[in-house]
Amino acid sequence: MSSTTEHEDRFRRVYAANFEPLLAYAMRRVEQPEDAADVVAETFLVAWRRSRHMPPDTEVRPWLYGVARRVLANHHRSGLRRGRLGDRLRQRLRAVIVADPGSEVPERLTVRAALARLGEQDRELLMLTFWEGLEPREAADVLRISPAAARTRLSRARARLRQLVGDDADPPGHVFDVLAVRTPKEGR
């Protein structure tokens, strides 16, 4: 097998194993579900271009989250750009997802509202830990902080969240209040 084929095969494997986690990561952090398509597309595009330097399989997911985090941050700063890639995914997400805040369980909304009130790093650390299921050292990789700092902050973030959830039992009026990254709405 040529190195090119090996390299391509590996990328296909990485993509297959990480597409859904990345989609989930993106969907948890964008306002319009279809915007997740742009985040996923750009993240994997970066990964493809860097694919010869991707870390080993065991470390690749946090690495991809790290890429996605910066993609999101940049989109946040400059507005989500509609790429040429991922158009079909965008269409599918638009068709499949119908956000219905009214159908949400109030407790979930309370937690999301509380998360939304945390600082970005605290919130991200909790989301990476509980939604993406990362170990503190992996979350540390994504956030580019030391594992020790991640553990300390996680503990602090939990305490803060507990306080907020306890203090604010009223469900919020909007399901997306939790979003870490605000992106422009449709019709751009």
Binding site: F11, R12, Y15, F19, E20, L23, A24, M27, R28, A37, A41, E42, L45, V46, W48, R49, R50, S51, R52, H53, P55, P62, W63, Y65, G66, V67, R69, R70, V71, N74, H75, R77, S78, G79, R81, L85, G86, R88, L89, R92, L93, A95, V96, I97, V105, E107, R108, L109, V111, R112, F130, W131, D141, V142, R144, R158, L161, R162, V165, V175
Partner: protein, 360 residues
């Protein structure tokens, strides 16, 4: 509430619904194929080399040619690495910031650049040392590698014939290809070459050697020139430039001791594209200078003596502006600026001040 309870509540609050992936109808596979059909040439940031500080006559040259509005540009150092270079170490997320940041920050540049895929030298050791233009069909980038330079200039396709005619007077053309695209090589002397690519999508590019070359060396490098999409090209440029994102911060530095004209919109400086300190300074002072001259003309016409005096004082004070004094070591823009400013302040606005200062 116990930790375990809190943790469960957070887990339960996850808004993601796994059923989504069941309904994507092949969109994930489709995206994979789209991504894998793009080139993988990998730009890798290297420690920035000391920029070659050659005195730049660019701006004054443009001014005299009456096209100072084209000064949009960057002068950068960067590196272009071979995608086939051996694996060295896994990239950390930190490495990718250069990949994503300029791409999205440079939306303006990208918009124009997207229409024109660019060329890179896919061989280690080459650095982009000068970049400017790339507004639409034109632009210039110079790659340097020790004592060699390779300059690539893009022009609108409609001037191809006139360029070609001129080059035919240089030498007999030799048919070559650049990344599979037909081109002609012309030889100025035994160590100086130009290669003109046939027009494509509304523009054409000419490669021109600088420094010490041989035919063999040129052919070898030419064989490694690849055509890449705009994103890859932009990502190959280094990060030490003033992006729109950093424009506000850099503008504050530049404008620290610069009197601002009435109604001057500092926030609009975010739309200046991507520039190194010199080019950014030139663009910012261009805006300031143009606005002060406009104010001077307005005041003159309105008989507003106070405003006229303020505008004249502001223009005269440009000799003390830190940004221009710093730029004076590097290029001719400050001289052009001061000359124009002095003439206006002396009551004789030059007829072509707009061209000189690149006023919009």
């Amino acid at each position: 509430m116990t930790d375990a309870h809190l943790d469960r509540m957070v887990r339960d609050a996850d808004p993601y619904r796994p059923e989504v992936v069941q309904h994507l109808d092949g969109a994930a596979q489709n995206l994979l194929e789209e991504i894998m059909s793009t080139p993988t040439l990998e730009p890798v940031a290297e420690p920035s080399a000391r920029r070659q500080r050659k005195r730049r006559a660019l701006l004054s040259g443009l001014a005299s040619a009456g096209v100072a509005a084209v000064v949009l540009g960057v002068v950068v150092t960067g590196s272009i690495m071979n995608a086939d270079r051996p694996e060295d170490r896994p990239s950390t997320p930190a490495d990718t910031s250069d990949d994503t940041k300029p791409i999205t920050d440079w939306a303006m540049v990208l918009k124009a650049a997207e229409e024109n895929p660019r060329l890179l030298i896919d061989q280690p050791g080459w650095k982009a040392t000068s970049v400017y233009g790339f507004t639409e069909k034109d632009g210039s980038i110079t790659f340097s590698n020790n004592d060699r330079e390779l300059e690539m200039n893009w022009y609108p396709a409609d001037v191809y014939d006139s360029f070609h005619e001129d080059r035919l007077r240089v030498s007999e053309p030799a048919q070559v290809t650049v990344d599979g695209w037909p081109a002609e090589r012309f030889q100025y002397n035994e160590g100086d070459f130009a290669v003109m690519l046939k027009p494509r999508e509304g523009s054409f590019v000419e490669l021109r050697t600088g420094g010490t070359w041989t035919r063999a060396a040129f052919d070898e490098v030419l064989a490694t020139v690849v055509r890449v999409d705009a994103k890859t090209w932009l990502a190959a440029l280094p990060a030490e430039i003033v992006t729109p994102q950093r424009a506000t911060e850099q503008a504050a530095k530049v404008l620290a001791d610069v009197p601002l004209p009435p109604g001057f919109d500092v926030t609009a400086l975010g739309g200046l594209g991507a520039n190194d300190a010199y080019q950014f300074g030139a663009k910012v002072t261009s805006r300031v200078g143009c606005a002060w001259i406009a104010e001077w003309l307005r005041a003159k016409k309105a008989g507003d003596d106070d405003a006229l005096r303020r505008a004249g004082d502001a223009l005269r004070s440009s000799h003390r502006w830190t940004v221009l004094r710093q730029m004076n070591d590097e290029g001719d823009w400050p001289e052009v600026f001061w000359e124009t400013a002095d003439e206006v302040a002396a009551g004789k606005p030059p007829a072509k001040y707009r061209d000189s200062l690149g006023c919009e």
